[in-house]
C-alpha cells in the first residue's frame, strides 16, 4: 500500500508521481479514511485480501477491521446495509466485486439508495460511493465484463462517474467520496495496472467532462477504458491528416452538456464510443444532447460505435464485441464522409 508518508519527499506541489490506477485508487481511499472519520469500506474480500484487484490493499491493516471489513457474500446485503449506515451518519464506500454482481443489489440501489433523500424530503441523504470494477477486456468469466452506466444513469437520484486513467481515478474517487449524494464509481478494470504520472495536488476541476486530446475535425466521446483506445485511434487518424479531439466524459450522470456542446460546436462532428450494448446505451443520450445543443452546426448525424445488443461474450469473442480500433475508424470515416442530401 502506498500512503503519503511513503511517497518520495520530493513530492511537492506540482510534482507528479507514477502510479497505476490500482495504486491511485488505493491512495485515494487511504486518504479518505484518514481525513474522514465517518468513511467506511466494506464488501466481499476487501479486508484481509485487499480486494480481488487489491484496490483496498493494506487498508484494513492500517485503519482496523471496524472501518474496513469483509461482509458475508451478499450484494443486496452490502448495499442495503449501506443505507442504514448512511442513516446512522456514516459515509459508506462499499465495493461490489465485479460489475455483474451489482445486479443482485439493484433493488437496494434503485429502490432505496436512489430514493431515500427524496422520500425523506432531504433529511436522510445517502452519501454512498459504490465502487464497481467495470467493463470488459480481460477475458474473464461470465458477468465480469458488464457496462452498467446506462442502467444506473437512468435511475433518478444516482450519480455515475468513471475515471479513465490514474490521475482521474485518484481525484475523482476522493471527490466522489466527499459528495452528499450516492455516486456509482465505475473503475475500468482493464486499466488497473497501467501506470501514468499523477499530480496529487492538482487534479483540475473534478466536475464535468475533460478534453483528453484537443483536435479540430471531429470529437470522439468516450469514458472509462475506451478513452485510451480513442486516444490510440486519434494518433492513427493523425497519420491520415485527421485531427481528432477526444472528450473524456468522466461524469455519466450528470453529463456535462456544456462541455459536449463546446467541443462539438468546434469540431462539428461527433462519434460516441462505449462498450455497453447499443440500444438505450448512454451513446443515445449523448447523441441526443449533442443534437439538441449543436443541431445547426452539425455536419453529420452523431455516430455511435458501441457493443452489440448481446450478452457480453466469452473471452474468445471479446474482440469481436468491443469497439475496436477498426470499428472506431469506420465510425470516423462515416461522419467525415457524410454529405447532407
Amino acid at each position: 500500500m502506498l500512503d503519503a508518508t511513503t511517497l518520495n519527499p520530493a513530492q511537492e506541489r506540482g510534482a507528479t508521481v507514477e502510479l497505476s490506477m490500482q495504486a491511485a485508487l488505493n491512495l485515494a481511499l487511504a486518504e479518505t479514511l484518514d481525513e474522514d472519520p465517518k468513511a467506511l469500506i466494506f464488501g466481499e474480500d476487501v479486508g484481509r485480501l485487499g480486494g480481488v484487484f487489491r484496490v483496498t490493499d493494506g487498508l484494513q491493516e492500517r485503519f482496523g477491521a471496524t472501518r474496513v471489513f469483509d461482509t458475508p457474500l451478499a450484494e443486496s446485503g452490502i448495499l442495503g446495509m449501506s443505507v442504514g449506515l448512511a442513516m446512522a451518519g456514516f459515509h459508506p464506500i462499499p465495493e461490489v466485486q465485479f460489475d455483474g454482481f451489482a445486479y443482485p443489489a439493484v433493488n437496494q440501489i434503485i429502490c432505496q439508495i436512489g430514493r431515500m433523500n427524496y422520500r425523506s424530503r432531504g433529511t436522510l441523504p445517502m452519501p454512498i460511493t459504490l465502487r464497481v470494477p467495470s467493463f470488459g477486456g480481460i477475458r474473464a468469466p461470465e458477468h465480469h465484463g458488464e457496462s452498467l452506466e446506462a442502467m444506473f444513469a437512468h435511475v433518478p437520484g444516482l450519480k455515475v462517474v468513471s475515471p479513465s486513467d490514474p490521475q482521474q481515478a485518484y481525484h475523482l474517487l476522493k471527490y466522489a467520496a466527499q459528495r452528499p449524494d450516492p455516486v456509482i464509481f465505475m473503475e475500468p478494470k482493464s486499466r488497473y495496472w497501467q501506470k501514468a504520472q499523477v499530480n496529487l495536488h492538482d487534479g483540475g476541476t473534478p466536475e464535468g467532462a475533460r478534453v483528453a486530446r484537443p483536435g479540430r475535425h471531429l470529437t470522439l466521446i468516450a469514458w472509462g477504458a475506451m478513452v485510451s483506445r480513442c486516444l490510440q485511434v486519434a494518433e492513427l487518424a493523425e497519420e491520415d491528416g485527421i485531427d481528432v479531439e477526444v472528450l473524456d466524459l468522466r461524469w455519466l450522470k450528470p453529463i456535462d452538456a456544456e462541455g459536449l456542446a463546446a467541443s462539438v460546436a468546434k469540431t462539428r462532428r461527433a462519434v460516441v464510443v462505449h462498450e455497453g450494448p447499443r440500444t438505450s446505451g448512454l451513446g443515445a443520450e449523448v447523441a441526443a444532447l449533442v443534437t439538441e445543443e449543436c443541431f445547426n452546426t452539425l455536419k453529420a448525424p452523431v455516430e455511435r460505435v458501441t457493443g452489440f445488443d448481446v450478452p457480453y461474450p466469452s473471452g474468445d469473442l471479446e474482440d469481436e464485441y468491443l469497439p475496436g480500433i477498426d470499428r472506431i475508424l469506420f465510425g470516423i470515416q462515416r461522419v467525415l464522409e457524410h454529405r447532407r442530401g
Binding site: E44, D45, G47, R48, L49, G50, V52, D70, P72, L73, A74, S76, G77, G100, F101, Y103, P104, R139, A140, P141, E142, H143, H144, R278, T279, F308, D309, V310, P311, P313, S314, G315, D316, L317, E318, E320, Y321, G324, D326, R327, F330
Partner: protein
C-alpha cells in the same frame, strides 16, 4: 479415519477410479492455465469426494443437476463430455459447450447462488407435471443444486429453501462447505454454526456429512434422493470439505491463510482415504492404483488435446443465441458486424 461404511469392492473401485480421474483432470487444468492453454480455472482440489459422491447418487436420465463454476467432478460423474465442459475455462463459451437439455447439467453458473431457485422451479415442475401429489412407484424426478458456504449468505438461497419447503418440492440443496469463500472463512460467513442448522427453520431435514468420505457423501445423497422422490419434499446436505487449492488460478491464498493450515487439511485427502479402505478391506494392490492413475493421466492428456483443438466460436454466434426470434435491430447489427469485420 475409515469410510463411514463399505460398499462392495466393485463399487468402491468405480468411485476411486472416478476420484482419480477428476483429480488428474483438475491438476492438469491448473497446468494448462500456467501453460497458457486456458485463461483461467477454478480448481476443485480436495472436493473430489463431495462432488463424485453426490453426482453418482442421481440419475441424469431423469433428474436435473444445477452446478456452480466449480463442479467439474459432478460433471464427470454425470458423464458430461470434458472438453465441452472445459470450454468455459478456455473462454470459448460462458456456459460451456455441452448441451444442458440433454445432459441434464445446467449451464455453468458464474453468479454465486444464481441457480438455486432454478432448481426449486425445475423440481416443482416435476410435481406439477405429475398431476398427482402422490409420486407413485417411480417417485418424482428430483433436482440437485450445488452451492458453497459463501453462497449460503445470499438472500436467494433463503428464498429457495423456503419455497421448496412450503411447496414440498423434490430438490436437494447440496452445500459444499469448503471452508472458504475466496478469502473469507466460513466462521465469518455462516452464522448459527452451520448451513445445515438452518434447515430446521424451514422444517426441512438436513445432514452434515464428512465431505471427504466419498461413501458417506454417496449414501447421504442417496437418502436425500429417496426422500425427495417419495414426495417428502426438499432436503439439505452440507458436505464438510476443504478447498485445498486457490479460489481460482488468479488467487493467492498466501494472503489470507497459512501453509500449516493447508497442510493439516491435506490429511483428509479424499483419495487417500478411499485408497486405504480398498487396500485394507479388500486387499487391493498397487497394480489397481497404478492403472487408475495411468488411465486418468491418459484421459487428462486426451482432454487437453481436445481443449487445445477448440477454436473460437464464429462471431455470428454472438447474435444468433440472444433470442429464439431474432429482432430486426439485432439482425442489422449482425450484418454491420460482418461487413466491418470483412473490411477491417
Amino acid at each position: 479415519m475409515p469410510l463411514v461404511s463399505t460398499p462392495p469392492e466393485d463399487e468402491l473401485k468405480r468411485l476411486y477410479t472416478l476420484l482419480t480421474t477428476v483429480r488428474q483432470l483438475d491438476l492438469a487444468a491448473v497446468r494448462w492455465q500456467r501453460q497458457g492453454v486456458i485463461p483461467g480455472y477454478a480448481p476443485m482440489l480436495g472436493q473430489e469426494a463431495a462432488q463424485v459422491g453426490s453426482g453418482c447418487a442421481v440419475d441424469p436420465s431423469r433428474d436435473f443437476v444445477f452446478p456452480t463454476y466449480r463442479e467439474m467432478g459432478v460433471a464427470k460423474a454425470l458423464g458430461v463430455d470434458m472438453v465441452e465442459y472445459m470450454s468455459t475455462h478456455k473462454a470459448t463459451w460462458h456456459g460451456g459447450l455441452y448441451n444442458p437439455a440433454q445432459t441434464h447439467l445446467a449451464p455453468i453458473q458464474a453468479v454465486v447462488a444464481g441457480s438455486v431457485l432454478h432448481a426449486v422451479g425445475w423440481a416443482q415442475g416435476q410435481v406439477i407435471k405429475h398431476a398427482d401429489t402422490n409420486p407413485g412407484p417411480d417417485g418424482f424426478n428430483i433436482a440437485l443444486t450445488y452451492f458453497g458456504d459463501g453462497a449460503s449468505s445470499q438472500g436467494d438461497v433463503h428464498e429457495a429453501m423456503n419455497f421448496a419447503a412450503i411447496m414440498k418440492s423434490p430438490v436437494i440443496f447440496f452445500v459444499q462447505n469448503n471452508g472458504w469463500a475466496i478469502s473469507v472463512p466460513t466462521d465469518r460467513q455462516v452464522a448459527g454454526g452451520s448451513v445445515a442448522a438452518r434447515a430446521a427453520g424451514y422444517g426441512m431435514p438436513a445432514e452434515q456429512v464428512d465431505g471427504n468420505d466419498v461413501v458417506a457423501v454417496l449414501e447421504a445423497t442417496r437418502r436425500a434422493v429417496a426422500h425427495a422422490r417419495a414426495g417428502n419434499g426438499p432436503m439439505l446436505i452440507e458436505a464438510m470439505t476443504y478447498r485445498l487449492g486457490p479460489h481460482s488460478t488468479s488467487d493467492d491464498p498466501g494472503r489470507y491463510r497459512t501453509l500449516a493450515e493447508e497442510q493439516s487439511a491435506q490429511n483428509a485427502d479424499p483419495l487417500q482415504r478411499c485408497e486405504r479402505v480398498l487396500r485394507e478391506r479388500f486387499g487391493v494392490t498397487d497394480h489397481f492404483f497404478q492403472a487408475a492413475l495411468a488411465d486418468a493421466e491418459a484421459e487428462a492428456e486426451q482432454v487437453r488435446a481436445g481443449v487445445v483443438a477448440l477454436g473460437p466460436r464464429p462471431g455470428h454466434e454472438m447474435f444468433e443465441f440472444v433470442f429464439q426470434e431474432m429482432t430486426p435491430a439485432l439482425a442489422a447489427q449482425a450484418a454491420s458486424w460482418r461487413e466491418e469485420s470483412e473490411h477491417a
